[in-house]
Symmetry: C2
Subunit: 189 residues, 2 copies
Amino acid sequence: MDRRQQKTRDAVFAAFSRLLSQKSYHKITVQEIIDAANIGRTTFYAHFETKEDLLRALCEALFQHIIDSAMDAAHTHGRYSDKNAPGSAFLHLFQHLAENDGNILELLSCESNGLFLRYFKESLNGLIRVRHPGLMQVEQDALPADFKINFVSSTFVETVLWWLKNQRQQTPEELAGYFMAVTAPIWEK
Amino acid sequence: MDRRQQKTRDAVFAAFSRLLSQKSYHKITVQEIIDAANIGRTTFYAHFETKEDLLRALCEALFQHIIDSAMDAAHTHGRYSDKNAPGSAFLHLFQHLAENDGNILELLSCESNGLFLRYFKESLNGLIRVRHPGLMQVEQDALPADFKINFVSSTFVETVLWWLKNQRQQTPEELAGYFMAVTAPIWEK
DNA sequence: AATAAAGCAGAACATCCTGTTCTATATTGA
DNA sequence: TCAATATAGAACAGGATGTTCTGCTTTATT
């Protein structure tokens, strides 16, 4: 990719993230993004069709990054132990989030986080299908497989949101403990 | 309240609900609401400061209605049994939703449902605090009370959303069964 | 029934945001 | 070097917002 394109794209992502941490998505104007990124109006529209298109691209980049990281952690050796325990991938994600990689927490806690959460949950669904194929098997407990997967993803996201709302007072390990406690019916048996 | 005000308010709510079931909130224009409600531009702005203000008012009216209904069901006799069982209020809510009172399902399943969900969860939190004061007690299981309440509310909402996404194939009783199965760690003991 | 108060309709308006188009300049990769 | 491409900047039309003004209709009260 042309260096100029990459540079512009990075500048827009950075400016957009910064603005999102300051004000609501819907109150951010394209011109503000353009000014913050210090680019020309034409340039913005050469990269993104609309503001929503930019949001989608940003979500894709951010969530792809942390989900991939959690996927890798299952296969490579590293600092996190118990690679095959049910909650290991989630603990890894909590740790990743606690480090606020890519300022993702600002985006998740901003007022208009609905679109983020949708992408986040979809990414998590993919991760769960890979890491916990057992959930997809014919269910002995009469719970549909996709209901269980959605439940796990949603509970994870809601746990993160609760943590953010409470000024991040818990460690990743504590969060993983809470998460595993309430999702226990899924893993047992 | 002046009959004219009430009539205008109802017309706006009805028109807005209808539009929300057809297109995204953000793509609905104030002029469209005005035309659909068949009122004057001035009249709209005499009732609501902005489109977002209208959304807030609509959420308040809808959720207040079904939550109040669930509250009452706990105290009065009715067609739903086991009034004091942990899941009775939730079963009542599922039944209420299955009847799609006030076309609330269209609003919950629309693309821009983030604001609805926020109000829905807050309303549910209030209901849970009243119906399940035990959750507020000092926790023996190391889970913070507000974490548990948020977990229950979120899981309820996510269950409803999953049901909507799957063409409402389950009965309220089945949904309540799924819901109680995954929230079991909260109620036991 | 008469009347004052309040709600409503409709038009006009300034303002802002959007997305496009044009021209000219600067940078890149081959 | 040079052709291709990315960018800057200005200008533009279209559309949405929220306000203001004027005149009309309905309501609640006496």
